[in-house]
Symmetry: C2
Subunit: 567 residues, 2 copies
């Protein structure tokens, strides 16, 4: 039997558009001789639909669209489609995260997701009741072990701790399965695709049957889905598909050799592809933006953002503006111009002195006798941010913000200034990786798109004379590992100091900076998520908060299992 | 037996401070002859601790602090304290939402929350595994039905739909209970306290025993807890406590007459008290702000915000700045000045022409030939926002933002302009309620603190000549009910048109405005939550989203329970 793996890029909420795509790809599946077409989790709504699921009208349109789709699909083809459905029970969450097997206008089988990820960016228990244990679907002589995304992630018997008690894959295998089918909305993060493939390989090896994995591709707001669909067997891959783009795969259950493209997962190329896809989908899935716009400072962050935007959208849809001040280096303009010329993008220079002078004049009476401080630095950043927003408003361009994860973490940015923008391209990329990505962009192009000077000069916000990032922050070689351990791994002062060799007082100071700047991040633009812990909706902290670490370390009891009477 | 009801105001994350408060109140309980002191849910961490619970160091400090507290508490007193504890099971979420009965340095009983609210602002399944069914705690001859917040909210047998299958209150009652004790972190929303008391009254009547209810009071970031603790019996209240402030209650189990203050719940006075508390706690729980600052436009929103801030903090901690432009009415300055004088606050006037002229000059080459549009309006708002932030930075004042829920809903506000600020005081208050609150403020004061002119002139953003809100929006008498039904009740076009009598095309246009402005709200300041559906973390929608409502209404299937094969 030929099975079509339909790695589509749905748009969140676009029920009619997503249904039309499912229909078109199903017709192709028939044309190519497939008997079964498999689409990703919640592909009718796009993943994640979030609180659209709270709206009865949205849900009734989902149901109507699914019914219409079932009627319209080609005769004789089995089509596996993910969509929400109402929970038939009078208790529990109102929805189930369902997968339907449609055939000849009817639902011939349906299964429900059992394990509902509710951590990081995932909020599935907010909407979905867990389904009952799945039963094997007997269809055209095959026993299909159909399940949904997270349902396969609890299979590692060797893990000391399990987030869920149930193991749906094992339970399906116990019923006798010819073929597992996992439909997913599994987003990209560095290292995640390889881990996912290892999980799949283990399942195939353990149970001796192939697994068809069909994942969503594309980006919806901050989440980027890498796709990476394919078929794995007990001995290894049987069919592997493109990542970071829509892809139609065809696999014959009789087939023993591997078809498709090899998956090579490397950190920097993956980051690059993810960010380009994230920019492209944010812009093209919104009906509002003809072009994107960004401020060019001559620094590495804005240079990389511009280069990625050009890859995502083409040079004719990217506009750069450099806005020098009295404290800008000569390079801020010349490096920006060199970048714009190398990219072939529209470029403008707008010195900010008139606006800054205006504010200075307005504020002079109130600020009389006060020494210059961070206020005047922020004023420059806000003059730039306001200028960029004026251009954005006048021409309908989306403003990209260019701050990286390192500076977002410690609050080395001006709210309502350089933080202005609709999409934060690099807010989940640490500074050292920004450099690596910039070099990769130049390597791929075979020329210095990003000026060598931007790569080598000491990073600076250029908001006061001679200012350098390293006046306020440790070198990024020291800072980034501290931040990664704190933000992504939840380690604390002593562990981080021990692991990195950094001074304990420095680590403490950095952690305090991260905590203190929660208020800025709360108002930050949505940022493309490329790690397992990005700033944004996957990281939720009180803003008014007063956790003072005890001065001396306390015994590390958080992960141990004390007896109930021991607390 | 005398029981102390300890309605405390904890600070999120402040383990040592909260523990010190629990200790002090416990000593008072002993002094007043109590045998048992009851504190709110998660009072050790403050509610909600959010992702602090992901940090092992925070959890180990919780455990150490609780142990130290148990040792320090007065001998002979039973103390009921809420805190997280590690889940002893090797599967499931790592924590339980626990309540400990401490006595003489030991944990003599503990129970765990079973029902974990995971909707709106609540994310408890993100952290907590449900506890096993609670067992009655036998203590000093009393059978205590101890449970946590949401555990009592699933008790209405008459409800057609239940969010949970379990009913912990019923299960406890079946074991035989002398006294229910519910410890809560139950936030305020209009109408919620009365509903909560009705639930409690029903439980007491149904099971014929009293219920001791101890709720957190105070605000943590956007959530405001009204307290409203007390004791109810089968025949009605036995002890009722102050709302919106810390309160120590003492109730004798032998007592039959009601003690304490009567709870009178009225919408506008409650809103007033909640907002004042929300401002006060945001400012005083943060270590950063000596004063608050806001822009005064002469309009009703900024006037009300200023008046509430003065009630929360005192006139000497509030600073108002009016920033007229070429389009400002004379009243924008005179009404602002009258307000500032009535309130006795520091006041400054800073015309924004110098900054606006600077930007206009900078942008002139690029904007040549372009007609003025919303760009120039936003520029004025951003010049004001930048000015206010400069003052905020220079003096360390918290900027309050003044937008109401009506304009926040439809996006009638400028991002990085009048949306600037650390706390949005009115973002969950519809415009009509802003007027009602303003009149209430004047009534309470017995004089026109808020100038009559601000109450009666047509609302205007004053960003172009002769502009009025009603040029772009329907009258608030029409707009607010539409918004309330869409945002808070999830109704859609046809239901809203039918219920309000508004034109269907108008309703459709308003709903589209709400949807389209998700991007602005994503970057909005945290706002004080006073309804069951505020903008902010309790409302999660995709920004890149393309739900096009079907032109004709579809059958309303969302709330029905179709059979599994019927979808």
């Amino acid at each position: 039997m030929k099975i079509a793996l339909c790695q589509i890029n749905p748009i969140a909420g676009d029920l009619s558009g997503n249904a039309a795509k499912i229909l078109a790809w199903s017709r192709r599946a028939v044309d190519e001789g497939a008997e079964l077409a498999v689409f990703p989790e919640l592909c009718l709504t796009g993943y994640p639909p979030l609180d659209l699921l709270d709206r009865p009208r949205f849900l009734s349109e989902c149901e109507a669209t699914l019914n219409d789709l079932a009627d319209a699909l080609p005769a004789g083809l089995g089509v596996i489609v993910g969509a929400p459905r109402s929970n038939p029970s009078p208790a529990g969450k109102r929805l189930l995260n369902a997968v339907f097997l449609l055939e000849d206008g009817a639902v011939v089988a349906e299964v429900y997701k059992q394990l509902r990820p509710t951590y990081d960016v995932f909020d599935e228990y907010r909407y979905f009741e867990p389904g009952p244990p799945q039963e094997v679907v007997l269809w055209r002589g095959l026993r299909l072990g159909l399940h949904v995304c997270e349902d396969m992630w609890n299979n590692r018997e060797t893990d000391p701790y399990h987030l869920y008690a149930a193991n749906p894959v094992d339970a399906l295998a116990a019923q006798g399965v010819d073929l597992f089918i996992n439909v997913s909305g599994s987003p990209f993060a560095t290292g995640r695709p390889a881990f996912r493939e290892a999980i799949i390989a283990e399942i195939c090896a353990e149970h001796g049957v192939p697994l068809v994995f069909v994942n969503e591709v594309g980006a919806n707001t901050e989440l980027i889905f890498d796709g990476g669909s394919g078929v794995w067997g007990p001995e290894g891959p049987l069919c592997t598909m493109q990542r970071f783009e829509e892809s139609f795969g065809l696999w014959d259950t009789e087939q023993t050799a591997c078809c498709g493209v090899a998956h090579v997962e490397e950190k920097i190329p993956d980051l690059h592809d993810a960010l380009v896809l994230g920019i492209r989908d944010y812009v093209t899935k919104s009906p509002y933006f003809s072009k994107v716009l960004l401020g060019l400072s001559g620094g590495i962050d804005s240079a990389l953002t511009a280069a990625l935007a050009v890859e995502a959208l083409g040079a004719d849809r990217v506009v750069g503006i450099t806005m020098p001040s009295a404290y800008s280096s000569e390079g801020s303009v010349t490096d920006s111009l060199a970048l714009a010329q190398a990219l072939g993008i529209e470029f403008h220079e707008m010195p900010i002195a008139p606006a800054v002078d205006g504010f200075t004049h307005m504020l002079a009476p109130l600020f009389a006798g006060k020494a210059p401080d961070v206020t005047e630095e922020n004023l420059q950043a806000r003059a730039r941010g306001t200028t960029l927003m004026a251009v954005s408003n006048k021409f309908g361009y989306l403003l990209l913000t260019t701050g990286n994860k390192s500076e977002t973490a410690v609050g080395y940015a001006t709210l309502y200034g350089d933080m202005n923008g609709g999409l934060a391209v690099l807010s989940d990329v640490f500074k050292l990786d920004v450099y690596r990505l910039a070099r990769y962009v130049n390597e791929r192009a075979g020329r210095a798109i990003i000026p060598e000077n931007s790569l080598t000069k000491p990073p600076s916000a250029e908001l006061r004379p001679g200012q350098k990032d390293q006046d306020s922050l440790p070198p990024y070689e020291v800072l980034d590992p501290i931040l990664e351990r704190y933000v992504e791994r939840h380690e604390d002062v002593d562990e981080i100091a021990a692991a990195t060799g950094a001074d304990r007082a420095l680590v403490r100071r950095i952690l305090d900076m991260v905590d203190r700047n929660e208020f800025k991040r709360r108002q930050a633009a949505p940022g493309l998520r490329v790690t397992t812990k990005a700033f944004g909706p996957g990281r939720r902290l009180p803003i008014v908060m007063r956790w003072q670490r005890a001065d001396t370390p306390v015994p590390h009891a958080g992960q141990t299992h004390t007896a109930p009477e021991g607390a």
